[in-house]
């Protein structure tokens, strides 16, 4: 599937009905999701026939895109039932039956030391909460979970302004990060406290791999 085609499909994905600010619910823009998945698929071969996890999947843009590119099985995890209900509608709409959804707190996935999710996936993709609303570092906590769920690659989005910190912190988690692209994240005015109609945020699309592999 061509990049432009993937992006066009992902533009049809239904978004949050009542986004929750505490969970930083923003729909991953189609052009960013398509870019990330296409690179993971074409440059690195990390999607087709793979088992893929989407952490904090929300309405499922990344999970859907991975399935469209031929992932064998995709599991989306999210804490919010309302977002997952929309996601489930999207799965039915696009007829992608290889996607599973689990309602859980991503940050609790590793609480059980013997969890069977550890190293279960070939590839983990995520657009984590950036942690700007009184919960700094959430993206790095998500990244730590992502690294534990796979021995393969992790694809994640982080604010470019925090790049050095993200790469350094990832390194202490045993992950080597490589910035694949710097993208413009056009956040539409989702919440009442946003003064401008939209604001551009520079985000890094980073591919992490385990340093010991």
């Amino acid at each position: 599937m061509k990049l432009r085609q993937l992006e066009a499909h992902l533009q049809e994905v239904q978004g949050f009905q009542e986004p929750k600010v505490a969970l930083e619910q923003y729909v991953t823009p189609a052009h960013i999701a398509a870019h990330l998945l296409h690179a993971a698929h074409v440059q690195y071969g990390d999607v087709e026939r793979k088992t893929v996890a989407d952490l904090g999947c929300g309405c499922g843009v990344l999970a859907l895109g991975a399935a469209m590119l031929g992932a064998a099985a995709v599991t989306g995890f999210d804490i919010d039932g309302a977002a997952l209900a929309v996601c489930q509608e999207n799965l039915s709409e696009f007829e992608l039956p290889c996607i599973e959804l689990v309602q859980t707190d991503v940050l609790q996935l590793l609480t059980d030391a013997g969890t069977r999710w550890r190293n279960h996936f070939d590839t983990v993709i995520l657009n984590p909460p950036f942690g700007t609303k009184n919960n700094q570092g959430t993206d790095l906590k998500f990244l730590e979970v992502a690294g534990a769920l796979t021995q393969g690659a992790v694809y994640s989005l982080h604010k470019s302004s925090t790049r050095k910190h993200v790469i350094r912190k990832a390194s202490t988690l045993g992950l080597a990060g490589e910035v694949v692209a710097e993208l413009r994240y056009d956040l539409p005015k989702t919440y009442a406290f946003h003064k401008k109609t939209s604001v551009d945020v520079q985000v890094d699309f980073i591919r992490f791999t385990h340093k010991n592999s």
Binding site: R49, E100, Q103, T104, Q108, H120
Partner: protein
Amino acid sequence: MKLITHNMLSSKTIKGVVYGYPLIIRASQVLTKDVDFNPEFIQRMIPKLDWSALKFAAKCVGHEEDLPDEPPANMADEDVLKRIHHVVMEVDVVDGFLECPETKRQFPITNGIPNMLLNENDV
């Protein structure tokens, strides 16, 4: 919820629970959905599955006879791989509960999505 997902879930995060595995499936609605058969994927999944938990899950939802008693020795037998594919990928629990085998605490499955969130008094 497919049985491949059930195979990964436990209630061990509940305070005092030792194994919390496998979770009992109390299904009120089970469907089968067509999913593309990918033999290479099923071959790779077999060693990752807890076979006795899978047998148990299949029994809970009335698909026990579709599954061999042991993981297949011959991974090239496409007929067996198809049967396994059917049980782990196509059988879908749409509504019901997952039940902790130790505390009997129930996790609802709604519209195919298991809700594994714990309350404050669970942890």
